[in-house]
């Protein structure tokens, strides 16, 4: 019994991490490998390419549908993120610091809206947007994106702000700092990591959106990358260029990987802050 357990625990110590890494990276490596296969050699039924090529990346960057989708995705996601983090910061500050009736209700509302099925909004928005001219525009996506980036930011930021030692502001003022100095030198550095974390999580959500992207756009004027990927066609309408789609998929995964590499600790803290005390 004891021997089996120690063998098991040794396997857990060394094998566990290897298993986790294999699980997380395997499909990513697969799509990277696909993106380097020539379109003609994509059916080699092997994991790795027989010959490596950059042709797919060239194709993708020569496809206006993709380059405009990339631009749309970047700006729409960033604008939705910045707007919701700004509104959420003010609200979360009030929730963390002030005593007023209804603040629990606001947090519950945020949680309820974060759980909302996006598809339920698509029909009415499709109808309203077409009549007010927001269909197939950036703003027409930024607004629905805020339906999930805003509650998420409020939730994350309230959890973060609750942990900030706000007394330090008064302490600084007693030591002779003006209220502005106290705010700028004490509160901003304490609050900034939380705000930044909320922004990363909100950006991930906006970047990932698919439902609104395919329903509320029709041309490359506003169509974001995930929607463009799903509608990507090759030379003929019926050909789905797997290798080119893979190259495009790799390109849009790069920002995610960069953010994860740079801010791993903050993302983990932000993900768990809203749900469980981390």
């Amino acid at each position: 019994m004891g021997g089996r357990r120690s063998a098991l625990s040794r396997l857990g110590t060394y094998g566990g991490p290897v298993l986790v890494i294999a699980w997380t990276l395997f499909p990513v490596l697969w799509i990277v490998s696909l993106s380097f296969k020539p379109e003609s050699g994509i059916n080699n039924e092997k994991f790795l390419p027989d010959t490596w090529t950059l042709e797919n990346y060239r194709t993708v960057f020569d496809t206006p549908l993709f380059t405009s989708a990339l631009r749309n995705s970047i700006f729409i996601s960033l604008i939705a993120t910045v707007l919701s983090v700004m509104i959420a910061t003010v609200a979360a500050y009030a929730i963390a610091r002030l005593e007023f009736p209804g603040k629990k209700l606001i947090l519950s509302l945020a949680l309820a809206i974060a759980m909302f099925p996006a598809v339920s909004l698509v029909g009415p928005l499709f109808d309203i947007w077409r009549s007010v001219g927001l269909y197939d525009t950036w703003l027409g996506l930024i607004i629905p994106y805020m339906s999930f980036t805003l509650p998420l930011s409020i939730w994350t930021l309230s959890a973060f702000f609750r942990e900030i030692p706000w007394e330090m502001e008064q302490a600084a003022q007693i030591d002779g700092a003006t209220s502005w100095q106290a705010f700028r030198k004490v509160i901003v550095p304490l609050a900034a990591p939380g705000v930044f974390t909320a922004a990363i999580l909100a950006f991930f959500f906006a970047w990932n959106d698919f439902v609104f992207g395919i329903s509320l756009t029709s041309t490359d004027a506003a169509r974001p990358v995930p929607a463009a990927l799903a509608f990507f066609t090759g030379a003929s309408q019926f050909e789905r260029p797997a290798a080119a789609i893979s190259a495009a998929a790799v390109i849009v995964t790069i920002p995610v990987v960069v953010l994860v590499l740079l801010f791993q600790r903050r993302i983990v803290a932000g993900l768990t802050a809203g749900a469980v005390k981390g």
Binding site: V28, E99, I106, S120
Partner: protein, 306 residues
């Protein structure tokens, strides 16, 4: 704990100016957030409720006519609706159960990790951050007859995964599980961190086996975290859409409730009927949340450590 400047007024004591000002400021600062949240969800949802009472197709707006609850009757008496509900429930049950098991394993690995802590935590965030559509394409191409390697690796010959219902559902579940297990495992990891180390040590001293410590100490102490993780993931899984769209487009009876709503509203532009499906989807999600919060006593405020 919140470090509020003033304490809540005691019963019977008149509200002071300061309290009143604080309340007013609180409402002012949260007003934009509340207004935006209601405008982007409550308003369209009420609009969907309204549209669902009409027979209304965008292609024929002149024929728009009030039909009361007839759309709901049409949806609920249609075998297709129940088939999508069945598919969605099956996929939700499978994915959440498997994610809970694998996620718990991953959380244990991350909790006890000695070397490579940072590498593991970084790599586990990649599926979380990756676009669902990208994950769906990766798995679709892996299973595909022409470009895939899975049949070669497992000696399955020319088995067409996407030509049958259950093998399609298997592929969809795999993509969903791959992408969302990291989220589950991080929530569970936070729960594991809350289990008092002294209890583990005490149980060890008392001669408890590994299994006894797991079932008597670890699991009961992280029950709240497990329930929250399961609630979050269940609600998320029930709205499954992206993977189905990319991998099968609803073929081989893999259509989910979200996909049905989308197809009615956007593809068929039957806004009335589609809205009825949307409202039913929304009500189901509310029912699931209520079941967890009331039935299983998931207390969201207590686990947040206030």
């Amino acid at each position: 704990m919140t470090s509020t400047v003033t304490a809540a007024p005691a019963v019977g004591v008149p509200v002071t100016d300061r309290t009143r000002n604080e309340r007013r400021l609180g409402w002012k600062l949260t007003a934009p957030a509340v207004v935006v949240m209601l405008a982007v969800t409550a308003y369209p949802m009420l609009n969907a409720l309204w549209l669902s009472l009409f027979s209304y197709r965008l292609t024929d707006p002149g024929a728009r006519e009030f039909v009361g609850l007839r759309n709901y009757g049409v949806v609920l008496s249609d075998g297709l609706w129940w088939q999508t509900v069945f598919t969605t429930v099956i996929i939700t049950l499978i994915t959440v159960a498997v994610e809970l098991l694998i996620g718990f394993g991953f959380a244990m690995v991350m909790h006890r990790i000695i070397f490579g802590r940072k590498v593991v935590r970084t790599s586990i965030l990649i599926p979380y951050g990756i676009i669902t559509v990208v994950s769906a394409f990766a798995w679709r191409y892996a299973f595909a007859l022409d470009s895939g390697f899975i049949n070669t690796w497992f000696g399955l010959g020319d088995f067409a995964w996407f030509s049958e219902r259950w093998s399609s559902i298997f592929a969809i579940c795999l993509s969903e599980i791959w992408k969302t297990t990291p989220f589950m495992s991080l929530l569970l990891l936070a729960g594991l961190a809350q289990v008092p180390e002294e209890l583990q040590e005490a149980a060890k001293v008392d001669g408890a086996t590994w299994r006894q410590r797991l079932t008597r100490v670890t699991l009961p102490n992280m029950k709240a975290a497990i329930m929250v993780a399961v609630l979050f993931r269940t609600l998320d899984a029930y709205r499954l859409f992206d993977n189905v769209f990319v991998m099968t487009a609803g073929a081989q009876k893999t259509e989910t409730v979200s996909f049905l709503a989308y197809r009615q509203m956007i593809t068929r532009t039957a806004l009335g009927l589609g809205s009825a499906v949307s409202v039913l989807l929304f009500l189901t999600v509310v029912a699931i949340a209520a079941l967890f919060i009331k039935g299983f006593k998931v207390d969201l405020s207590s686990v947040r450590g206030r």
